[in-house]
Structure formats: C-alpha cells, structure tokens
C-alpha cells in the first residue's frame, strides 16, 4: 500500500517537474531559423555543389577517376598539343559531395561552392554542363595554353604529393 501511494506521488511529482521544463521553454527564444527568410551562414569548408572553372581546367581526368560514383564526364578531342576539352559535365544525381575531386585537383579549377539548394523538377536537369561547345574549346596541353593566353598554374605552387597520382 505504501508503494501504491509512493508511485502516485512519484508520477505526479515527476510529471510536474517535466511540465516546469516545458513551460520554461515557452519564454525562451526558439532556436530554429525561418528558412527562406533567414539562412544559416555556411562554414568556410562547407561542401556544396561542385563548381568547375573550365578556363583553368586542363582535362587531366584525375577528378573523374577519383570520383567514387563516376559522376564527372570529361570528353576531349585530339592528342598531345592539339588536345582540347569539349565537354565537362557533372551529374548531380550521382554526386555525393565527398570532395575527393577538389582536393586532388592540381590546377585548382574544381571547387566546392556553398550552394546547396538546387531543387529541380526533372532530374535530368541535374546534369550540369560546364562548357558551351559554341565557345572556344579549352586547350589541355600546357604549351598550347601558354601559346593561346590561357591561364596556367604557376610551376612553383604545385603541391608536391599530388603529381602522378593518376594511375
């Protein structure tokens, strides 16, 4: 019988303690953000949609090979000095934002942006083409790039460990 009343007492008292906590929260400022109006500031390292600056890219194909899900499509034409990039596409249906492509890019052309809300109605539109073939094709060979006044990465800034990773 003692247990019976102890149980009732415990039930009531613990319920009241809990209710005190929830009541206190009514007066606290909510922690949520009103999304479309307020947006969270993304930290510097945030991995959003991948962006490729094709003017810098020399189609070395490292990113495509390192991609665990094979979502990067690079097409080139020609050989050696006449090698030109004709297509650079990323299929964001497949992309998993792992950042393996960006950290091994020796030209620094591919980066993770801070965009994260690219909702679309048709998933085919999530295949992003970074090159318009009507514009000039991007030369891949360093000599050609210098010749045609394209951006080239400075020799001395090249990170040491990354060269030759591409099998």
């Amino acid at each position: 019988m003692g247990q019976y009343f102890t149980d009732i007492y415990l039930a009531v008292s613990s319920a009241l303690q809990g209710m005190a906590i929830t009541f206190k929260h009514i007066y606290k400022k909510p922690v949520t953000l009103q999304f479309p109006d307020e947006r969270q500031v993304m930290p510097e390292r945030f991995r959003g949609f991948v962006h490729n600056d094709t003017a810098k890219c020399d189609a070395c194909n490292i990113c495509a090979k390192l991609c665990p899900v094979d979502c990067i499509y690079i097409e080139t034409e020609g050989k050696a000095k006449d090698r030109y990039m004709t297509r650079y596409a990323i299929d964001y249906n497949k992309c998993i934002w792992c950042s393996l492509c960006t950290e091994n890019c020796h030209t620094g052309s591919i980066t993770m942006s801070h965009d994260y809300d690219h909702a679309v109605f048709d998933r085919r539109t999530l295949v992003y083409e970074f090159m318009d073939p009507r514009e000039a094709k991007v030369p891949c060979h360093r000599a050609t790039r210098i010749e045609q006044n394209w951006w080239v990465e400075p020799k001395e800034d090249k990170p040491g460990g990354d060269k030759g990773d591409d099998e």
């Binding site: 094979d70 499509y73 596409a89 999530l126 083409e129 060979h141 360093r142 990465e153």
Partner: protein, 213 residues
C-alpha cells in the same frame, strides 16, 4: 592466451581436423577441415581454458583470383566503360569459397580466427548457429551474398536480397541481371550531352593521359 597456444589446444582436440596455423603479425589464423568446423567451434566455446563466448564476425569469402602469396588480383569488377556500364567478362570463376570465423572471449580477453575452405561446387559448411545464435543471421547473409550453404541451418532464407533474386552478388563472377521481375536494374543513363559534339561521342574514352604539369 597466445594464439599458437590456442591452436595447440584446438589441434589436440580436433586431431586431423586442424589443417594448420598461419603465423602472421597482423592476424594469425587456423585452418580447419570444413566438416569439423562446428566441432572446433564447440570446443573453443566450451573449453574453460578458451571460453570463447562471443562470435564477433562470420565472413563468407570468394577466394577466386586470390593467391595465397598475395600476388593475385581481384577480378570482381573488371572496370566500367565511360557511360557507366560495367564491363562484362565471360571468365568463369574457379577458386574456392571460404568462411572466416572471428571469436572473442569476454572472460579471458583473447581472440582467435578460424578459416575454412570449401569448393565452389559443394559450397556447404556446417552451421554453427546452434553454438552462437548470432551466427544464424551471419550465415543467412553469407548464403544470400555468396551462395554458401550452411548444413543444418534452422532458417535458410535469403537475408538482404529478395527471395526470388537470382545469383549471389558477392561472388566474383556475379553479373547483375538486367531485369528483376520486370524492373530494370541498371538505371537510365542521364549523362547524355545536350550539346551535340561532332567528334568524340560518349563512347570515346576521355583523356588518354594527364596533361603535362
């Protein structure tokens, strides 16, 4: 207890069932005869000097293409062409299948690894689900993914794949079917280039070598 001491005890109990012990700084392991594995496990569990009360892991392995010296190459994925389709091979896998048992004793804090090998044709191992109940699901998974049959298993159904799935995905020679019950499995390619390019279609391999730095 030292690993080879455990093996000594096991070999003493099993007789010819124990096929050998591989010393190895990473993970020493003992090979036992397939038919004797349940007996070996029972001994390891019940002997008070060993007292392996937990089966940490039970892994099925397809040893096809692996040579014991470590020189072999995995042949499971032959590669993908650029449109994402896997390259199929008509090579028939021949190697053995195997099972590895990892045991642990909470009381004595020691581990032990057992391995058995079975031929691809028979692919039958005695079940140990009567010894550690956890083995039941691991064995079902091994059956599901590798097609290892466990003789005497109380509930030999598939674990993760559908009941009517054909094939065992972790076999090295497994090729994914195109259709399952009328459902296409390969998915639609969404990588088609919306801009037509005269030379170099999607089939052309991209970039033969990395550009000179």
């Amino acid at each position: 207890m030292e690993q080879n001491a455990i093996y000594e005890l096991l070999a003493g109990a099993l007789g010819d069932g124990a096929l050998g012990f591989t010393e190895n700084p990473l993970e020493p392991w003992a090979a036992v005869e397939t038919a004797k594995v349940a007996e070996a496990c029972r001994f390891l569990r019940d002997d008070p000097r060993l007292d392996f009360d937990q089966l940490m892991c039970l892994s099925g392995i397809d040893w096809d293409g692996f040579d014991e010296a470590g020189k072999g190459k995995s042949v499971s994925i032959l590669g993908y062409s650029d449109d994402g389709q896997p390259e199929k091979s008509d090579r028939v896998a021949t190697g053995d299948l195997g099972v590895a048992y990892h045991l642990y004793s909470h009381a004595l804090r020691h581990k032990f690894t057992l391995r058995v090998r079975v031929t691809r044709e028979s692919a039958t191992v005695p079940t140990i689900s009567g010894l550690w109940s956890t083995a039941a699901w691991h064995e079902r998974e091994a059956w599901d993914l590798l097609g290892l049959k466990f003789a005497g298993h109380p509930d030999p159904r598939r674990m993760l794949m559908e009941e009517d799935w054909v094939g065992h995905p972790l076999r090295k020679d497994y090729v994914m079917p195109d259709l399952w019950n009328g459902v296409p499995l390969q998915g639609q390619p969404y990588c088609a280039n919306p801009f037509p390019v005269e030379s170099g279609g999607p089939d052309k391999p991209a970039g033969d070598k990395p550009a000179e730095g």
